[in-house]
Assembly symmetry: C2
Homo-oligomer: 443 residues x 2
């Protein structure tokens, strides 16, 4: 019974709890059992207090018993990347510099999750300060492989069936890449859609909260309550609520059309990946057209690097000042590059973004989404979290992206398909993703 | 008759035109006569086509004759700083690099002026690229003195009675300082209140459109139609319309209280200025209290310099690349400093602004406005546009500031009193200014 409960989708589990078929406590206990079973191998968690998780679950069951309002995530356990503040658990940011850090307040996204009834299961492993140096987590599909990063534990915990949902963040490729490597669904919404208040800041221009789940329906369920204007994050805006679950359930009015783009970095994809995508495009037939991006986009990767490095160096200035001896050599180098970036090249890179976004107006006039690899191939070994190069462009442009885990590559490991949509067309992107999934692997 | 018409306030003239007592053509002709008389000495205009101005005036008179809607500035001539685009006149930015530049479109602020019925009289002299190197304009109060800058011609044209109203811009002290030196009213609204689309960009963080007039009522009349959300200027926001003329006419519900702040740069004010302010504060008695600013504000001047230089270097990159031999040595030096600024110190300076603004929360809880000098003293000689140091803090913080020309300093030249208000309390600031003026020089 327990193991099965832990494998329910969040949508199923939320319904079952609302209907009184199962309790949140049963669900959380089942997930804790699953964690006990495989955490020694996977090591997805930085902090997990079984009692605290169960106490939340019992409180949610009590809510229901006493007739209080039931949120859309009522009683559902969720993993939170350990750079996202929680007022009842430490948040250590993947560095010994912040060991024992106990924030006084929940990040906005955590507060919204609690308001929707979620059980904050624990804190998932991040790479060092959400950069490139791996944490302890292993890929549940193959323990000798990287889960990807920087949201390593969130992707691995969902892939391993420890929790149905998890939250991560992406600055370069930190949601889509681990989702792809671990074989789960990952969703990086439009930049500025989900508040980043209370989250370790690397780059205001690029940082985006992202979601992990084992189905598109679950991504939609999780996304809906998190999208809100937050005066504490200047990049969020007041907007009409996006109807995620309804959109994912609905049929597209016309069969979607996809634009396959190789991008400048196509050569970095391994042979199996290139071959797998060639076959996928073939299979999609007239629903997919291969297009070339304007050459003006060649600079995008360099611009993303400049912005990520300069803003990270600014935001981690204190860590660099106080903790150079503790930082990994690769992060130190990265921060040094960021510190020596000129304000001139930084401003040029930031100013280019709206112009580069406009280059896609025509693409999104003609196509519902872009289809492209999520990664250069399947998960690498444990000494690296892999190459974010296929995510970088969409991080720079703040466009919504989703990883679909329906292909396999080298060694039969998961190979991610990335769909990218126009900014603020997030719910439609998930609907297009649903259509693609049904088309490619009809259930 | 002509000379008298040109000296009408904009408020009076607009009423007289609306009532059919005078025509716009008569008013514009009177102003053109005045310009013919003294432009050879003052040299406030970079471009002025009498026929074009009169044609606009006749068209506005035609509107009225045919019963079309009358705007609040209907038929009123206005001078436009020559860094603000106009679709029917050149915009040369005070540099031979842009000689003969003829923009295809009006800047948003010009379009709003035209929509309110104003007659775009001509383009007023700016310093070189709105920086520090003087243009040809002289101070109408003393032709051997600087009119200040960078909005030199706008301030001088209003002071000389050539036009009742003019538009300028401020990045450091380019509205308040020339208004003070020339003895007119100058108003720099809250940053982001008036769109800068179509205006030579120096610094997104600091650039602000400002207004010149010969009375507070006229500033209010001019401000109201210019405040609008413009999607082409990302720092503007949708807001409720501010009722400027009504506010300026109204009595404050309680007698305002003013906070006199010397700021870190008090020592730069000359003796006469220090003495004049001591007497003014004395005269204001219990309505004015001397307060000390937190020491955290000491860094503000340095931060403003870093931002202004780094952003100007970015925005004038093309001019630097193509025109180094044409740029003045002082501007070249400034751009070189900007180009060598690091992204790290630039980001630190920008990030400090909200914290520094918050330091004033208590001040504005207790006081209606800050009172402080506009400049270090009266206008200097023609080889400099003077020192913006008393404007820099308020430019950095984006707070509304107004120059009141009711004092005199060395050589009986105008000495400006600057009132500064809380952000977005612009209309209230003008009401407080009106109160102060009546209190100090009852009519």
């Amino acid at each position: 019974m327990s193991v099965e409960l832990s494998q329910l989708s969040a949508t199923q589990a939320a319904q079952a709890i609302a209907d009184g078929l199962i309790s949140s406590e049963q669900l959380v206990q089942a997930c804790l059992d699953r964690i006990r079973e495989i955490e020694p191998q996977v090591q997805a968690w930085q902090f997990l207090d079984e009692k605290l998780a169960l106490a939340q679950a019992r409180a949610r069951d009590q809510d229901r018993a006493e007739g209080r309002a039931i949120g859309v995530l009522h009683g559902i356990p969720i993993g939170i990347k350990d750079i996202i503040d929680t007022d009842d658990m430490p948040t250590e940011d993947g560095t010994s510099l912040h060991a024992g850090r106990t924030p006084a307040n929940d990040a906005t996204v955590v507060a919204l999750l609690r308001a929707a009834g979620a059980v904050i299961m624990g804190k998932t492993v991040t790479t060092e300060l959400a950069n490139m140096t791996p944490g302890k987590t292993r890929n549940p599909q193959n323990l000798e492989r990287s889960p990807g990063g920087s949201s390593s534990g969130s992707a691995a915990a969902v892939a391993a069936g420890m929790v149905p949902l998890a939250i991560g963040t992406q600055t370069s490729g930190s949601v889509i890449r681990p989702a792809a490597y671990c074989g789960v669904y990952g969703f990086k919404p439009t930049h500025g859609l989900i508040s980043r208040h209370g989250i370790l800041k690397l780059s205001r221009t690029l940082d985006t909260v992202g979601l992990f789940a084992r189905s598109l329906e679950d991504l939609a369920l999780l996304a809906e309550p998190l999208i809100m204007h937050d005066e504490k994050d200047f990049d969020t805006r007041p907007r009409a609520r996006m109807q995620f679950p309804a959109m994912v359930k609905s049929e597209p009015p016309l069969p979607p059309s996809l634009a396959f783009v190789k991008t400048e970095v196509w050569d970095r994809a391994d042979e199996t990946t290139q071959q797998a995508f060639a076959e996928l495009i073939e299979e999609l037939g007239e629903r997919c057209k291969i297009i070339e991006l304007p050459t003006s986009l060649k600079v995008a990767w360099e611009f993303q690097r400049i912005i990520a490095e300069a803003e990270t160096a600014f935001n981690l200035d204190l860590e660099w000042q106080k903790g150079q001896s503790v930082l990994s050599p690769s992060l130190r180098e990265r921060l040094e590059r960021g510190r020596s970036t000129s304000a001139l090249s930084y401003q040029k890179a930031v100013a280019a973004i709206p112009k580069l976004i406009a280059e896609f107006d025509e693409v999104f006039d003609s196509f519902d989404a872009i289809i492209t690899p999520s990664t250069t191939g399947t998960a690498p070994g444990l000494d690296s979290t892999g190459d974010p190069v296929f995510c970088v462009l969409w991080s720079l442009l703040g466009m919504p992206a989703v990883n679909l885990p329906f292909m396999t590559g080298v060694d039969n490991m998961p190979l991610g398909v990335q769909l990218v949509g126009a900014r603020l067309m997030d719910a439609r992107l998930l609907r297009t993703a649903k259509w693609l999934q049904q088309r490619v692997s009809p259930s």
